[in-house]
Each structure stands twice: as C-alpha cells, then as structure tokens.
C-alpha cells in the first residue's frame, strides 16, 4: 500500500513544517524540498512500470521508437520544471518560479521541433 506511505510521509512533513516554518523559514524550504523529492521517489518506481508497458505496446504497434522517446523526454522535462517552480513558489519567489516554468516550456518546444518539422515536410509532400 504505497498510498498509506505517501499520505503518511506528507502528514509527517506538513506537521514538522508547521513547527519549523515560524522559527526557521530557510530550513522549512529545504524540508519541503526534501519531502517533495522523497514523495516523487516513492511514486517514480510505479511510473517506470507504466513506461515499460508503454514501450512494449509501442513495439507491438510498430510505432517509431524515436517519437516515444521524445514524448518521454518532454514528460520528464515537464516533471522537473514543475518541481523547481513549485519549490521556488513555496519559498515566496514567484518571479523565479515563473522563469523556471518559462524555461521548461521553451525546452519542451525545442524538443518538439523535430516532430513539427516532420509534420510540415509530410504536408508539403502531400501538397506537391
């Protein structure tokens, strides 16, 4: 039962944060970051199982593996950017959080450019 673990960890972390935050706000930021990392690490094993299944399905359906890898990369970038932005927002730095989100969007756009180019090429081929 991973749900019990996750909720228990979150409850412990929130209680400790409530104790620490008024006295040491800088340590509270680090504690919330550690709690977030621990929670993500708990769930990531399950994500790995789902990704393996996706890979098997893609192999059976003869989908180009390059595209699946790209989608996975985009999910990873979104995941990490979200984590960074939330930590920054939690520390009260909304401006930094907005920049992290913007950077994540730009990187995802740059990753998606090859697919977009392929679609454009296909369309041009169909037109001519």
């Amino acid at each position: 039962m991973e749900v019990v673990q996750v909720v228990g960890l979150a409850l412990v972390a929130v209680t400790l944060l409530a104790v620490i935050r008024p006295q040491r706000p800088e340590l509270a930021v680090l504690l919330s970051l550690a709690a977030g990392a621990a929670l993500l690490a708990l769930v990531l094993a399950r994500v790995g199982a789902v990704l393996d299944l996706l890979r098997q399905v893609a192999l059976k359906a003869n989908v180009n593996f390059q595209y699946l890898t790209l989608v996975l990369k985009i999910i990873g970038v979104a995941y990490l950017a979200e984590l960074g932005a939330q930590v920054a927002r939690d520390a009260g730095e909304g401006a930094v959080a907005a920049k992290v989100e913007l950077a994540g969007k730009v990187i995802i756009l740059a990753l998606a450019v090859p697919i977009f180019a392929a679609v454009m090429e296909l369309m041009l081929k169909m037109l001519s």
């Binding site: 960890l9 040491r24 800088e26 340590l27 990392a37 994500v47 990369k73 990490l80």
Partner: protein, 64 residues
C-alpha cells in the same frame, strides 16, 4: 532512507531554533547566526544528496 531524511531535517531545524534562541538571550548574536548558517549548510547537504538521487532516477527513466 526516505522518511529518515525528513526526521533528520526537522530535528536539525528544531535544534538550531532552540540553540539560536538560547545564544540570542545570552547575548551572543554572532554565534547564534553562525549556528543558523551551520544548520542550513548541513540540511542543504542532505537535501542535495536526495535531489541528486531524484534527478538521476528521472534522467534514466525518461532518457533525458
């Protein structure tokens, strides 16, 4: 490892808060500030290790 780190960080936080208060009432302001800095550094090292593990996992899983 996961829950232990949380307890460690919280313990360091409470300890640092108490020591900071004691030193401040004793009139040793600069020492209190140093204790705070040391606590933050120790916790930061712990968190960096955790974050490094998380980043490595994400990087291998999503092939970043």
């Amino acid at each position: 490892m996961d829950v232990g780190v949380i307890w460690q960080i919280a313990g360091v936080g409470i300890l640092v808060a108490v020591i900071h208060g004691v030193l401040k009432t004793a009139g040793r302001d600069e020492l209190a500030w140093l204790v705070t800095l040391g606590g933050v550094t120790v916790v930061f090292l712990l968190v960096v290790r955790l974050i490094n593990a998380l980043f490595t996992t994400v990087r291998t899983m999503f092939q970043l």
